[in-house]
Symmetry: C2
Subunit: 365 residues, 2 copies
Amino acid sequence: MTARNLFLLPGDGIGPEAMGEVRKIIAYMNEAMNAGFVTDEGLVGGSAYDAHGAAISEGDMQKALAADAVLFGAVGGPKWDSVPYEVRPEAGLLRLRKDLQLFANLRPAICYPALASASSLKPELVEGLDILIIRELTGGVYFGEPKEIIDLGNGQKRGIDTQVYDTYEIERIAGVAFEMARTRQNRVCSMEKRNVMKSGVLWNQVVTETHKAKYSDVQLEHMLADAGGMQLVRQPKQFDVIVTDNLFGDMLSDVAAMLTGSLGMLPSASLGAPDGKTGKRKALYEPVHGSAPDIAGKGVANPIAMIASFAMCLRYSFNLVKEADDLEKAIANVLDKGIRTGDIMADGARQVGTVEMGDAILAEF
Amino acid sequence: MTARNLFLLPGDGIGPEAMGEVRKIIAYMNEAMNAGFVTDEGLVGGSAYDAHGAAISEGDMQKALAADAVLFGAVGGPKWDSVPYEVRPEAGLLRLRKDLQLFANLRPAICYPALASASSLKPELVEGLDILIIRELTGGVYFGEPKEIIDLGNGQKRGIDTQVYDTYEIERIAGVAFEMARTRQNRVCSMEKRNVMKSGVLWNQVVTETHKAKYSDVQLEHMLADAGGMQLVRQPKQFDVIVTDNLFGDMLSDVAAMLTGSLGMLPSASLGAPDGKTGKRKALYEPVHGSAPDIAGKGVANPIAMIASFAMCLRYSFNLVKEADDLEKAIANVLDKGIRTGDIMADGARQVGTVEMGDAILAEF
Ligand SMILES: CC(C)[C@H](C(=O)O)[C@@H](O)C(=O)O
Ligand SMILES: CC(C)[C@H](C(=O)O)[C@@H](O)C(=O)O
């Protein structure tokens, strides 16, 4: 069997602790299932800045490019709040997304039954919630040029960012959304602000044309992004797959994540295009939560989002579908048993730390 | 007494019905309180397009510029979904905002006690909620140039929008937020994406400097806009005043509006700078809800947001503070009595139409 190469970038804050629990699962799969994972590890974010003066070193970028999949923890923290813009912790993540051409960000917003009551929404609105947000990740205002601050003199400065989308970028992300919808409830809702943005007008057109040309079996709806944010709060279960641009996707997926009451639980996958020859996609997997510097190093962080991100990795990068299902089921079982980290603690549950939570999931796996 | 000039732009959909109820209140105030309102009326949005081929005519723009305040209903509807971009219904509203230089959009997100149970959030999270979102309204990606779709050939197009903020634009909106906070709980939370946008970096700097220079008595917090969206859903009562840019403000104020369970209830005010000589501000008042074409003309629309917008007009354009308070109280009383339009109907309440709701509020006023 060829080796399965994983490159681990634990990052800052609670990233390393959460990654530690994934490392245990990898070791177990190698031993018990002969999975053949080979891991290497690097630095990203503040920890990379401290070591190399950059948010990720060239050497680690090369390793990320060469790996079958990258597992990413979290970046940032008050320690690096005033480092120069170009080397801020987030720059490492943004460079990985851009250089690996990870244009498709998959963010499931799933409400675990055991946690429905933890949502700030009424339980009946979120029980059984299962939305997949497909966010475009390498375009839009994140990367468009010009992106600068100009000194206009007279004490005035001008901050400029540019939102740019080309037809092919919209086409390929729409394609991912329609393909994913076919494996689910077969419904896509596309969100933009075509009433104020020209990129929104183009987005709307290209999604409509892609649908007509290749995916007319899928049900397609269009919604203005502001109305979409409202509808997510009002009646989230109306959605199956949502496809949207980089910035709206950032906002909307965070709102959706919060609806589930399980921010510490939600994984994400960022995928590139399939290679013409091998069919392999570059990929990076990361929890939706941040680096939570306030609880870092205390052994209390919830490792579930990181472990669930690894489950997505098993599914999308290695086609280990059964193993992915089993790992997700192990997470659900542990929750059903009332084992909880502090962030999702509830009456009558048993509170555990990061390591115990990882052990409990491994025991169910 | 000098006349108080109001220019009414009812617009499309339920706009005219809702405006009808405000007209009754104006007539009453003229008669019973000798308020001296002089009203004129024009067309905006789809109805203006049908009449003049433009989303607002030059004549009506002149009247809007000359008036003490503009009352705006709502624009848009499926009928005009495919009119050219330049004359789409929203263009009328955007032109009013830009030409009247209404840079400060005030969007209160208030949860009426009688409606707390209508929120999709748990009642304890929204009872007593009182947030004021201050959205910058004449800058950012809404108006920056270039804003265009370029044909690149090869079947490829490029959609471009530009987010631009100058120091003075951020300074003046921050000033409004700090001033407003002083009349409330004295807390401002500024939201941007400084981790990916240069305009966000500048926004953060200028808000910080403005605070230091003139408003250090106000408590200031900074939050990334995506985290802000999350926190609005998680624990909305943590906020007092939120200040943010045009696009984030559009998204976040809609999410906040939905939290209250009272979208049909929420007003907004859009204000210009005080005139150097007279101290008067140009101003436009509009409900947060849209034109709701599905229920237009049926006499069932909720006129409360439009009436509450008129209350803001009394307060901010004419300094009729007591009258504004009384009108807001009249709305709350009617709700307490269990009188409801269909959109906010509840068990045991009495369902009424648009006109009856207007009458009930007038009777309490
Ligand atoms: C860390 C930050 C740059 C990032 C983003 O804005 O994309 C984060 O918010 C996310 O959603 O992955
Ligand atoms: C109608 C539309 C142009 C407008 C906006 O995007 O500003 C609306 O959504 C609003 O929030 O007032």
